[in-house]
Amino acid sequence: MTPLVSFQDVQKIYRSLQGADYSAVEHFSVEIEAGEFFCLLGPSGCGKTTVLKLLAGFELPTAGHILMHGRPVTGASRDRGVVFQGDDSLFGWLTAVENVEFGLRMRGVARSERRERALRYLQLVGLGGQEQKYPAELSGGMKQRIQIARALFNEPAMLLMDEPFAALDAQTRALMQAELASIWKTTRTTVLFITHDIDEAVTLGTRIGVMRAGPRARVKGVIDVALDGARSRTDDAFLRYYKQVYEMIRDEVAKSIARTD
């Protein structure tokens, strides 16, 4: 069976006008199966977001191949919904529900057909009753919920999430993680989730890909997380996975810090 997504020996070089080209990822290979919650974990500046931008189709690889459904990715498409880290991707002149409906409106789906379902999606992400508010009137956590609902409502084959909870406070983040886990259980959408937080990766992922420190970053190893149901941070199994991931990433974090100093 062909995987939903496969990165084959992908390289991305950022050209600079000063001639100091930067190779963000190199020999990057990974496969993601349909229905997976794949967490890509790595130290800051290791090119995680580059990987997401490449799969989203916002940028094209310098070398190698990125295939989805066996076909190369040539640009952005509604196959791949994206949830960004910050809130600057929300349309500030539209209300919460209008943001969620954007994709369907662009496709010409009538308001009467989309409104009720959009409200259900807002309910799903815990924003029932907030549909007429503008993004600026909502908190950081609520804005991320709009982004998630907006991406899901478009029914993509896959959801790409770029550290969506990194800017939230610890309590909100834990809450959002639990809610995302339960949303994922009902929708079973394939997810590529970018994070630098081991705890988050073990809480959410069915597989965790650990990246080497950049530049020329690639996957160091992939860990299957055989946990199901509600994952508790105090479970022995949870802690074992945490330790396993931690040991794999520890050296990379040290390298990454040494390079930025």
Binding site: A56, D88, W93
Partner: protein, 210 residues
């Protein structure tokens, strides 16, 4: 009035009142005792004249003449400036092509163009409206273009990932995201229009404020 309320009023408006009183007092003193010329009339005389002008309708008539010119030029200038600014902000080649024009022309004050405008378009309405368009268009272009370049790239990306086409992104993302900048440009342009119209009417016009 209780003394506390009086003190409040004084602390809020007292300064302004003193300021205005001293302004008219100094004006009066200067006009009557220092200059004493018909070319520098005292305030009382000016106000009496203003009241007569309003009563006979002359002032309003000229005010209306100026307002019409400003509105015509301001609307035309904005309608021309917004699409040009949008094009400059969206497409790099257009920006490179048009920037020399905008950067060259916007530094020529519209007041300096009055004589030229009169020679080109005559003393009539056309020259005034041309000047208002001239004073409006560059500010609107600049602000609109700046607004387009200030759009967060993630907004465009989000729309792409939701399946929007290029045309849809322009009308449903780029345009609404730029509106606040366009309005700022138009507000600044409106202020400039007043300065320009008075100066233009001073030089050549039968009616208007100038």
């Amino acid at each position: 009035m209780p003394p506390r309320r009086l003190r409040q009023l004084w602390s809020r408006y007292g300064g302004y009142a003193l300021g205005f009183v001293s302004l008219f007092l100094l004006w009066h003193l200067a006009a009557v005792y220092l200059v004493g010329s018909v070319l520098f009339p005292p305030p009382a005389l000016v106000f009496r004249k203003a009241v007569t002008l309003i009563r006979t309708g002359v002032l309003l008539e000229h005010l209306w003449a100026s307002t019409q010119r400003i509105l015509a030029g301001f609307i035309a200038g904005s309608l021309l400036g917004i699409p040009i600014g949008l094009a400059m902000g969206s497409f790099r080649p257009v920006r490179k092509l048009l920037e020399p024009y905008t950067e060259f022309l916007r530094f020529i004050p519209s007041v300096a163009m009055i004589t030229v405008a009169v020679i080109w378009f005559g003393i009539g309405e056309a020259s005034k409206i041309f000047l208002i368009i001239y004073t409006t268009i560059f500010i609107v272009i600049l602000n609109t273009a700046a607004g387009v370049s200030a759009i967060a790239p993630n907004k465009i990306r989000a729309a792409q990932a939701l399946g929007a086409t290029r045309t849809q992104i322009f009308f449903h993302v780029a345009l609404p995201a730029t509106v606040p900048y366009i309005l700022t440009g138009m507000r600044l342009a409106m202020a400039n229009s007043f300065t320009t119209i008075v100066a233009a009417e001073l030089v050549a016009a039968n009616e208007g404020l100038g």
